[in-house]
Each structure stands twice: as C-alpha cells, then as structure tokens.
C-alpha cells in the first residue's frame, strides 16, 4: 500500500532562512507527487506537482521540490522564507493506477517575523 512520510511535524524558522521539508513515499510503481499548502483558515492549494520529466519542479511562491527516485523522496525547498509562508504543508502521492491521493501527516511551518 502507498504511504507518505513527512519527517518534520513542526518547523519554526526566522524570515529569510532557507527551508527544506522532507517527504518520502513508499510505492513500487509510477507515481505522481504533490505538495499542497493550507494557509490558516483556508483550503488546500497546490504548490507544485511532479508527473514526469525534469525531477526538479518549480511551483508557486518560490517553492521547488526535487524528485529523487532512488531515495523515494520529494523534498520541498525554498531559499528564503517569508512570514506569509506560515502554513501547513502536505506532501502527497498518487499512483498511475488509481485516482486517490495519499497525504502525509503534514508539517506545520511557523515563520517568525
């Protein structure tokens, strides 16, 4: 069965710090990978996605993620975070065989002004 692990449950950073949120998945076949963000009081929004091609994916708001197939990882990065990046971040995966998205438990990111 597919699963997604996010290593950090709660991360606190100062503005301008660099960010890397870890994500590993388990599934033996072809996968699509996602990072979703949920700002306080808002709904899930897609930050970026990987379906195929260049394993370095650029998303909105300066975020990027790198798919490393050999490590089953899809870590999210941002070189310089802003206070407005305070949110919960979810890594997610679905396979090419079904429609459901499997989510990780989420990482709550708090940026200090």
């Amino acid at each position: 069965a597919q699963s997604v692990s996010q290593h950090n449950h709660h991360v606190i950073l100062s503005e301008a710090a660099s960010l890397e949120l870890g994500c590993n998945y388990s599934y033996g076949g072809t996968v699509n990978l996602f990072w979703y963000v949920q700002y306080p009081g808002q709904h899930l929004q897609l930050l970026l996605k990987y379906f195929s091609g260049d394993p370095l994916v650029k998303g909105i708001k300066g975020f990027e993620a790198e798919f490393i197939k050999s490590k089953f990882s899809f870590n999210l990065r941002k070189p310089s975070v802003q206070w407005s990046d305070t949110a919960e971040y979810f890594c997610a995966v679905n396979s090419d065989r079904d429609d459901k998205i499997i989510f990780g438990k989420g990482t709550r990111l708090h940026i200090l002004p």
Binding site: T30, N32, Y36, Q42, H43, L44, Q45, L46, K49, F51, F90, A92, N94, D96, R97, D98, D99, K100, I101, I102, F103, G104, K105, G106
Partner: protein
C-alpha cells in the same frame, strides 16, 4: 479562476442524525472526490466518483456513507447516522479526468462536529 465550493462551512449535528454535505465542483470536471481530515491527523481519501458511480472507495467509506450527484452541478456526501468519530473536516475535490496528469482541485471544506 473557477473553484470548488462547499456548503455549509460548519455543520453541528447530534449523534445518530443524518447529514448531507454539499459540494459544487468545477463545471467542466468529470471526476469528484471526498476526503476528510480528523483534527490533528492527515487528510484521508474517502471516495471517488465518475460517470454517476463510485470508482474507488476507502475502508472508511462504509455503509453509513453515500455519495450522489443529484443534478448537473452538485455532488453530495451523506452520512446516515453520524457518530462522534465522524467529526472532521470534509473536503470535496474535482478533476478534469482521473489518474495521471490531472490535478485535483480542493474546496474549502466543511467542518462537521458531532455532539
């Protein structure tokens, strides 16, 4: 930009009551989904729906749950007899097509509180 909408934003109900959560997917989308997130836990898939029938469902989606597309725009989730453990945020999502290469767009969620 088109978006998925959900009503109500918050529903409070007593244990044993029936609730219907409503969603209006993006108009040209063909696949519809329900997910839920119990407080402090991860978002979990409940069911996917295509061509007026369930295409996939999780173990959570037992006989107490049903989904329906009663008209051309709404997509509903019914819980027949609510339990305390049904308290969660319920998210509807839709996509143009299923599986690979199609993004699922999520609604804002309905917070269900069962007392």
């Amino acid at each position: 930009e088109p978006e998925v909408t959900q009503t109500p934003s918050h529903q409070v109900t007593q244990m044993g009551q029936e609730v219907i959560l409503r969603c209006v997917p993006i108009s040209n989308h063909l696949y519809f989904y329900w997910y839920r997130q119990i407080l402090g836990q991860k978002v979990e898939f409940l069911v996917s729906f295509y061509n007026n029938e369930i295409s996939e469902k999780s173990e959570i989606f037992d006989d107490q749950f049903s989904v329906e597309r009663p008209d051309g725009s709404n997509f509903t989730l019914k819980i027949r007899s609510t339990k305390l453990e049904d308290s969660a945020m319920y998210f509807c999502a839709s996509s143009e097509s299923g599986g690979k290469s199609y993004e699922q767009y999520f609604g804002p969620g309905t917070r269900l509180t069962v007392t």
